[in-house]
């Protein structure tokens, strides 16, 4: 596969810029995976292979990193990813109820994506918003404390977003 098919010139330039921040090529794996996920929504096998080849490291190095860390997705997800914290402070503040509400509201299970492709729902451990429990993240935004009522409104604001 030629590189042109995978990434545009502007994207290749960004990739080069990120890789050049590190003296050791291997260190650029995580930032590059972050970048590709940001522009593509998830990490496809071809993209991971490209990154590894680009950095001249074994392809398995890119795959193992992508599958080890929870923030990387190797399968397509919804346009907006809802992460619900299920750790102690959030559970004590009602995180289970939040999960149940979202499952019903979005008609999906944890790990699933809505039929319109807008939302994916995942459970995560501590997002560092324990003072705002129960807390969630949608894409890169922290929200909390959330209630079913406030969530309805929050979800609506994302429905219109690109």
């Amino acid at each position: 596969m030629s590189t042109q098919e995978l990434f545009s010139d502007a994207e290749l330039k960004a990739i080069q810029g990120i890789a050049s921040r590190y003296e050791e090529a291997g260190s650029a794996v995580m930032p590059l995976l972050h970048y590709v996920q940001e522009i593509r929504g998830y990490l496809g096998e071809d993209e991971m292979a490209f990154i590894a080849d680009y950095l001249r490291i074994p392809r398995v190095r890119a795959y193992e990193v992508a599958t080890y860390y929870t923030l990387y997705a190797t399968k397509p997800r919804g346009k907006h990813v809802i992460q619900v914290c299920r750790n102690l402070s959030c559970t004590m503040a009602g995180a289970e109820g939040i999960i149940d509400f979202l499952k019903k509201e979005l008609e999906i299970e944890v790990g699933g994506t809505t039929s319109d492709g807008i939302f994916s729902l995942v459970e995560v451990e501590c997002i560092g918003s324990c003072d705002k429990a129960p807390a969630i993240m949608i894409d890169e935004d922290h929200h909390g404390p959330v209630t079913p009522e406030s969530l309805r409104e929050i979800l609506n604001t994302y429905r219109g977003k690109p």
Partner: protein
């Protein structure tokens, strides 16, 4: 005890993350002093004198770590800031990263001078994308004004910093796993020794310090090591950021002297939520043993908490009230550790799955009293046989709740769990 305004003194100022605000409020004065008036040895001496201990959880003396690093003459040498605060219950470093990022950059530059550091990395937890942008902007500002980059303030020191985002792995808060991750690998801990100060990032000397630790350095230089050592307790001095969450009226980050009692800390956070009674606290995040009511007057510092069999950790205090279900709490924490075990050491990887299954069995009414002995036995084996501190500490939540709240386990075992749930007494 009243709150301190030392580390947090700029928090709340307008545009507090901007360099102009920082410069107008003692910003980069310490670095200027270090570069113009002090030798690297004097900087290390001052930090040693302050008795500043690592705020990430281990409580290791910062001056000593820097001294070891300075003795190793291999170059290049790295200053790595551990900003991966992933311990459940911890969100204190976020306050500095978001509202006072230059304090961290200044602390890192001072560290670089002290140990001959060539490059800095901030390993930032993946869940803080906003803070990544703030830090990158701050680094750019500092470079433009000559506080980072080549020949800083004409001193000959070349030092700049790269922000490196993690991707959601708790174990990367452990310094050797963090280094593996920085090298672009799975975050799995390395056996120590060798310690990172001698063989860290790319097998080169590397100082790994927590955000709060590095951000405390400018104040140590400004006010002197003796002043710093005089705040809090003699063994664990200094102002400390505590993240308080759970059943208090005002969860949040509070700056108090080390050694403040748990009781006072709860009072500072507005007291117990809805006037409920206190039942338990995890004083140092998910990995600490729980405290009960009889321990409310224990000082929150490294030594006092170690003396009662728990730990300060990063100062992540989770408060549970009278309605809390301790078995459920321990299960939630175990589920977390099982999920986050990096898989390197068998006792942690396999043992935690066993612990989780036994705990689930108890919650579902399938437990026996023998399970409690079995749990303690497995926990003991995990504690003695893991590479890193995270594996060692992963079962404190289970052992401490069994010891202190055995009755609640027995309630479940004796199938009283249904009654508890029916009465709405569930956490």
């Amino acid at each position: 005890m009243s709150e301190l305004k030392v580390l947090t003194r700029r928090v709340g100022l307008p545009d507090s993350a901007k360099i102009d605000t920082y410069l107008a409020n003692e910003g980069y004065v310490a670095l200027t002093k270090v570069l113009k008036e002090m030798t690297p040895a004097q900087v290390i001496d001052e930090v040693m004198k302050s008795n500043l201990r690592g705020r990430g959880g281990a409580g290791f003396k910062t001056g000593m770590k820097w001294d070891f690093a300075s003795q190793n003459k291999t170059r290049p040498k790295f200053i790595v800031c551990n900003a991966d605060e992933g311990e459940p219950g911890t969100f204190k470093d976020r306050v500095i990263l978001k509202f006072d990022p230059h304090a961290l950059l200044e602390g890192m530059a001072i560290a670089a001078r002290a140990v001959d550091g060539d490059h800095g990395y901030i390993y930032l937890r993946g869940e803080y994308p906003e803070e990544a942008k703030i830090l990158e902007d701050a680094i750019k500002e500092a470079e433009e004004r000559g506080y980072l980059g080549k020949n800083i303030l004409g001193s000959g020191l070349d030092f700049t910093i790269t922000v490196h985002r993690g991707a959601g792995a708790y174990v990367c808060g452990e310094e050797t796993a963090l280094i593996e991750s920085l090298e672009g690998k799975r975050g799995q801990s390395r056996i120590r020794p060798p310690f990172p100060v001698n063989s860290g990032y790319r097998k080169l000397p590397t100082v790994v310090n927590n955000v709060e630790t590095l951000s405390s350095v400018p104040i140590v230089i400004l006010k002197g090591g003796d002043w710093y050592a005089g705040v809090g307790t003699a063994e664990s001095p200094g102002p400390k950021l505590f993240s308080i969450s759970g059943a208090v009226e005002n969860p949040g980050v509070y700056e108090l002297p080390m050694g403040v009692t748990l009781r006072e800390l709860i009072k500072t956070a507005g007291g117990m939520k809805d006037g409920k009674a206190f039942k338990a606290a995890f004083p140092g995040g998910a990995s600490s043993a729980c405290m009960d009511e009889s321990e409310l007057d224990t000082g929150m510092d490294f030594n006092s908490l170690a003396a009662i069999g728990t730990m300060l950790g990063s100062g992540a205090v989770m408060i549970l009230d009278e309605t809390a279900d301790m078995v459920k709490a321990a299960y939630v924490l175990t589920r977390f550790f099982d999920h986050e075990s990096c898989g390197k050491c068998t006792p942690c990887r396999e043992g935690l799955t066993w612990v989780k299954q036994l705990m689930a069995g108890i919650l579902e009414g399938r437990g026996t009293e023998e399970d409690l002995d079995l749990l303690l036995d497995i926990c003991e084996q995990i504690q003695g046989a893991s590479f890193c501190g995270l594996g060692e500490a992963s079962v404190n939540c289970v052992t401490s709740t069994i010891r202190k709240f055995r009755g609640e386990y027995l309630d479940y075992i004796n199938r009283k769990a249904g009654v508890r749930a029916a009465s709405g007494e569930k956490s």
